[in-house]
């Protein structure tokens, strides 16, 4: 039983808001920026995206090739481990399913885990199942406009059912792995999986 803070009422939430908020989260209308370092800037002429199999086989797209792939638009709530949630965000990008099937035609074999790697050295690990089945995208448009650099542009991973640190900004590569390994925040005390509905913020949270 939690300690009751005498006199604390908190914000009264509508039932709809309360139902959309994972435990410990609050709704924001802003779009806060959380990054561990400077925002990397890579010109689109040198940008490319790589999907690499555990055996080193790769599929690679230039920016032009990448944005010519079949696009999807998704509207979703997002949840940051620093407690804010934002409802109804609109993204456009390429489904990871599309990338995986394109890569399969180039000989990239599936593996149970994936490491997303970004410009600037950031990385985050996920089970492959969590980026398949219409659950993850490489997004390059936000709210109808090109994704701003501080929010991860030119392109970021979008895995909205997990805490947003898993949605790696400035993503450049998905590297498939036979066994799991921790990424950046996962090595620094944050939860390995990060389900907001189970409040898996930090290592050791159940």
């Amino acid at each position: 039983m939690a300690l009751i803070s005498r006199g604390f009422r908190g914000r009264r939430q509508s039932a709809e808001t309360a139902g959309r908020l994972p435990p410990g989260q609050y709704e924001t209308r802003d779009f806060p920026v959380l990054s561990a370092g400077p925002t990397p800037r890579v010109p689109l002429t040198t940008w490319n995206f790589t999907l690499q199999g555990a055996d080193g086989t790769t599929a690679r797209w230039t920016w032009e090739e990448f944005i010519a792939l079949p696009r999807q638009t998704t509207t979703t709530d997002i949840h940051c481990v620093t407690k804010w949630s934002k409802f109804g965000t609109v993204w456009e990008g390429i489904s990871v399913d599309t990338l995986l099937s394109e890569a399969a035609t180039k000989g990239v074999k599936s593996s149970p885990y994936v490491m997303a790697r970004s410009d600037g050295g950031y990385a985050t690990n996920l089970p492959l199942a969590d980026v398949m089945g219409g659950k993850a995208w490489i997004a390059f448009m936000y709210d109808g406009a090109p994704l701003a650099p501080e929010h991860g542009g030119p392109a970021r991973l979008l895995v909205p059912h997990l805490y947003f640190w898993k949605s790696a900004k400035w993503v450049r590569e998905l590297r498939l792995m036979e066994s799991d390994a921790p990424g950046f925040w996962e090595s620094l005390g944050y939860h390995n999986y990060g389900d907001p509905w189970r409040e898996q913020r930090y290592a050791g949270d159940e």
Partner: protein, 260 residues
């Protein structure tokens, strides 16, 4: 990198308020006694959880202001007028009250005196708090080590506030710089200055960083904390000036377009 096999859960602890110290009109420091606090590193933060009588809970993160050497844990909280948790911490909480908190959290935006070389701290507003933990830690840890040790971690702080009355830890920063020649504190006041103010009177820009910061060739460790536009601008400019991105660690708060 190796997996941590059985991570310890970061448990909620009952913290008792032992002191409340006003800092500025909008900020105050709350000092807690936290039984069995596992210790922390300068730059880390805690999660605070409040529960209302009907069971509703709100959580927020606050940077730790006290150095690891202190037996008590200090948080400096800025009251946000439209905030949910900070008004309670700012107006209602008093000595003897208890709240729940857990931590320490965050293993990247951290510094300790074992890391050699120049240290550059850049703060905007209440972004000073985790940097103050670093300055306090540096002061306490090097107290006995003497001048040579201090010279191995020469430190510069560039601190942007709107006005002089909003400078958090103002007197303590002056004392630190006064007693220790290897700590330099530079203020800039962006919105309001007294007629006798001779310091910077604008937002941090490239020219100011060139003047105040260690040059990139000195390879300082850099920590930048403040509102998003300030941090974006400062971190980007430092990279433009040749600082290695991996030596520039940032912590941002607020939205993209928020005012500094």
């Amino acid at each position: 990198m190796n997996r941590v096999d059985t991570p310890q859960r970061i448990v909620w602890r009952l913290a008792t308020v032992v002191d409340v110290v006003p800092e500025t009109a909008r900020t105050r420091t709350i000092v807690f006694d936290v039984p069995e606090w596992p210790g922390h590193r300068a730059g880390q933060h805690v999660d605070v959880r409040l529960t209302s009588a009907d069971g509703y809970q709100a959580e927020r993160s606050y940077s730790i202001a006290s150095p690891p050497e202190d037996s008590r844990l200090a948080l400096t909280v800025e009251k946000l007028e439209d905030g949910e948790v900070s008004p309670y911490l700012s107006d209602d909480l008093r000595a003897g009250d208890q709240i729940e908190l857990r931590g320490p959290i965050g293993g990247y935006f951290v510094w300790d005196v074992s890391l050699p070389g120049p240290l550059l701290l850049v703060a905007g507003g209440s972004g000073i708090v985790p940097l103050m933990a670093m300055l306090r830690h540096r002061d306490v840890a090097l107290e006995r080590a003497g001048a040579l040790a201090r010279h191995q971690v020469p430190t510069r702080l560039l601190y942007s506030s709107r006005k002089w009355d909003e400078v958090i830890y103002r007197d303590e920063l002056a004392r630190l710089a006064e007693k220790d020649a290897t700590v330099e504190v530079t203020h800039t006041l962006t919105r309001e200055q007294s007629p006798e103010w001779t310091g910077f009177r604008r937002r941090i820009d490239r020219a100011m960083l060139e003047q105040v910061a260690w040059p990139a060739s000195e390879r300082p460790r850099v920590f930048v904390c403040g509102p998003t536009p300030l941090v974006e601008s400062v971190a980007g400019t430092l990279v433009d000036l040749g600082h290695e991105p991996e030596r520039v660690k940032t912590e941002r708060f607020g939205p993209t377009g928020g005012s500094a």
